[in-house]
């Protein structure tokens, strides 16, 4: 939240949506503060786009209430909600020039021509589209089309911007560039934005607040780094972070209030955890992020051992896939330095940053907080 603004820009109260008896949104409540960039993230089919369409008014909820800028707009026409949307496919009008595309909403509103022209010029300048105003969409590149789509939203000066996976049609380098541009624009306009993506990198870099959705429900809401450090459950732990968090199965040997001691196929491992409750003998999942696993130095015993089965060298960093002795399931992934000396079939001993390890109970819920992250509340590192 920026400054001391207190008004809710978007407020969802127990919003549900079903299509032909199939529940897509199973009760979502959410507050978006004014000026905030909220990112909905989740796997395909989790309902994130449907939720955005409910806010936009392109669909109406089966039950629940949607408020925008303090007004109940649950059943209002999309154009009467004070929202503007940027579509995944840009959805430009192919028979109109860039200028006409941007001006279209204002023409429908019946604004005087001089006023429309002035606004279109301002927007074109902000988005560096001035030299393209006379062109048709088919004569534009992907990035330019994207900017026109954004311009069409900005010109209406809405209370809330809605972005539906706006970058997914662009190639990787352009996507990075547009991401920075959207972040800049968001800061410049200080506009409330709701942004849908399946790309957790976009979510981490753009969001003031991330909403992780899964199967029509909110799994967790929080600042990007908060979700990264303190995932509330296994789903969020697996979804936020790339490569994903390594999850190892274990049993609780004892829990002392200072640490939870685990029985693993490779022996006993004590995870420091203050005040955590875990029933002895219960199954537990140990979550370790790839950057918190290291190859043990010579002479060091390490916590785990296994064999390297695959190495991916990305230049600046190296991912090593290691099959742990005695553990079932997927190999663990280590994030190593680009020059790390590892090779295939090598036997390695691994050390774990135990203070940054995560624990999840049988229901998948987090058990306590990693000691390193216990005091940290925020620290989003997005572009300003």
């Amino acid at each position: 939240m920026r400054g001391n603004v207190v008004t809710n820009s978007v407020k969802l109260t127990d919003v549900k949506k079903s299509f032909n008896g199939h529940d897509v949104i199973k009760g979502v409540s959410l507050d978006v503060q004014k000026g905030e960039m909220v990112v909905f993230v989740g796997p395909s089919g989790c309902g994130k786009s449907t939720l955005l369409r409910l806010i936009a008014g392109l669909d109406t909820p089966t039950s629940g209430q949607i408020e925008i800028a303090g007004n109940d707009v649950t059943y209002a026409h999309p154009s009467k909600r004070g929202v503007a949307m940027v579509f995944q496919s840009y959805a430009l009008y192919p028979h109109m020039t860039v200028a006409d595309n941007i001006a279209f909403a204002l023409k429908i509103q019946g604004l005087p021509k001089a006023e429309i022209d002035a606004k279109v010029r301002d927007v074109a300048e902000v988005l560096q589209l001035t030299h393209l105003l006379k062109r048709r969409p088919k004569a534009l590149s992907g990035g330019q089309r994207q900017r026109v789509a954004i311009g069409r939203a900005i010109v209406r000066e809405p209370d809330v911007f809605l972005f539906d996976e706006p970058l997914s049609n662009l190639d990787a380098s352009l996507r990075g560039q547009m991401r920075v541009e959207i972040a800049r624009l968001h800061t410049k306009l200080n506009a409330t934005s709701v942004y849908v993506t399946h790309d957790q990198v976009e979510a981490m870099t753009l969001a003031d607040k991330i909403v992780v959705l899964n199967a029509g429900r909110i799994e967790q809401i929080g600042a990007p780094m908060e979700l990264y450090r303190k995932p509330a459950n296994l789903f969020v732990a697996g979804f936020i972070g790339s490569p994903r968090m390594n999850i190892l199965g274990a049993k609780v040997r004892s829990s002392s209030g200072e640490a939870v001691t685990l029985d693993t196929p490779q022996g006993v491992l004590a995870i420091p955890r203050t005040g955590a409750q875990a029933a002895t003998g219960a199954s537990i999942s140990l979550g370790i992020r790839p950057e918190n696993l290291h190859v043990a130095a010579a002479g060091e015993e390490g916590h785990l051992s296994g064999y390297v089965i695959l190495i991916e060298r990305l230049g600046g960093e190296t991912f090593a896939y290691v099959t742990l002795k005695g553990f079932d399931g997927e190999p663990v992934i280590l994030k190593l330095d680009g020059e790390a000396q590892v090779h295939n079939h090598q036997e390695v001993r691994l050390t774990v940053d135990l203070n940054r390890a995560h624990l999840f109970d049988e229901a998948g819920l987090a058990v306590g907080v990693s000691p390193d992250f216990a005091d940290k509340t925020d620290g989003s590192g997005h572009v300003q």
Partner: protein, 290 residues
């Protein structure tokens, strides 16, 4: 120097021979197809005696008598009256066909009407229905309306999207349009009517032009419907007027008929070439997206 890869003898002329044969046959068949049309135009400039004396289409002593006399016609009205009558039928027919087909197609393509599938099947069934089956019931109906010997029976039914083929064609075209574009227009403040007129119609213009062209040409050529519903000569369209000039005189002036036929096909031809770019695009681009 001769290598094994170079063809020798007559074989090296094969590609040329091949092209000669292919284009020769194509030109020959094409000529046979277009010959009646050329003969008609040529015959229009011949005198009556010459028409049947030779198969060639180039007149020996070109004359415009056929046009001059043909234009006067054997009735009290000039050919201009019949051309104008045709336009009085065709133009409203094209307009109401386009409007009704687009509106109905939009409804089928974009709105969740209860029983849409059944209604669509019914619409497609009308495409397969032979038109002649309807002649008698329709005649009786229009007689009750008091519409006989007026142009209304010729175009009023088209105002209700009775040409299932056109509706189908436009629906197929609309289905290729991205829904996002129309949703963007809704978010920009358009109602359904504005989405249709300001966004959808300009984008499907090729399909609309195709429909208009088809309907124009079919209606220009329509003989049966005017024959059934029109009884006064002053209201006859070109198709009936041409037939009439064959019947009424014992010695038919074929050069006049050919001259007037030439004039009669002119509007369709001109319109076709003027709209060719859109027309061809409309026939193909509905099928494949891109």
């Amino acid at each position: 120097m001769v290598t094994a890869t170079i063809d020798t003898g007559w074989r090296k002329h094969l590609p040329v021979l091949n092209a000669f044969l292919r284009y020769g046959i194509l030109i020959l068949v094409g000529f046979v197809m277009i010959y009646p049309l050329l003969w008609m135009i040529g015959g229009a400039f011949k005198n009556n005696a010459e028409i049947f004396s030779s198969i060639g289409f180039i007149p020996k002593a070109p004359t415009t008598d056929g046009f001059v006399n043909g234009w006067k016609t054997s009735t009290e009205y000039s050919f201009a009256t019949y051309l104008l009558n045709t336009m009085k039928i065709v133009i409203p027919k094209v307009i109401v066909t386009v409007i009704s087909s687009v509106v109905v197609a939009y409804g089928f393509a974009r709105f969740a009407i209860p029983g849409r599938k059944w209604l669509f099947a019914l619409l497609m069934a009308t495409v397969l229905l032979p038109k002649s089956v309807l002649l008698i019931p329709q005649y009786l109906m229009f007689r009750e309306f008091g519409w006989l010997d007026t142009y209304l029976p010729l175009y009023a039914p088209q105002a209700f999207a009775t040409e299932g083929f056109f509706v189908f064609m436009i629906i197929q075209f609309m289905r290729t349009l991205p829904l996002d574009m129309e949703e963007a227009a809704v978010m920009d403040g358009c109602n359904s009517f504005q989405v249709l007129t300001l966004i959808v119609c300009p984008v499907i213009l090729p399909a609309i032009i195709s429909v208009a062209l088809f309907q124009f040409m079919w209606s220009m050529n329509d003989f049966l419907q005017p024959l059934i519903y029109l009884s006064s000569v002053e209201k006859y369209p070109v198709a009936l007027a041409l037939k009439m000039s064959i019947d009424v005189t014992e010695a038919t002036s074929w050069n006049e008929i050919l001259a007037m036929s030439t004039i009669a096909i002119a509007p369709s031809l001109i319109l076709f070439f003027a709209a060719q770019k859109y027309f061809v695009e409309g026939l193909t681009s509905g099928a494949v997206k891109g």
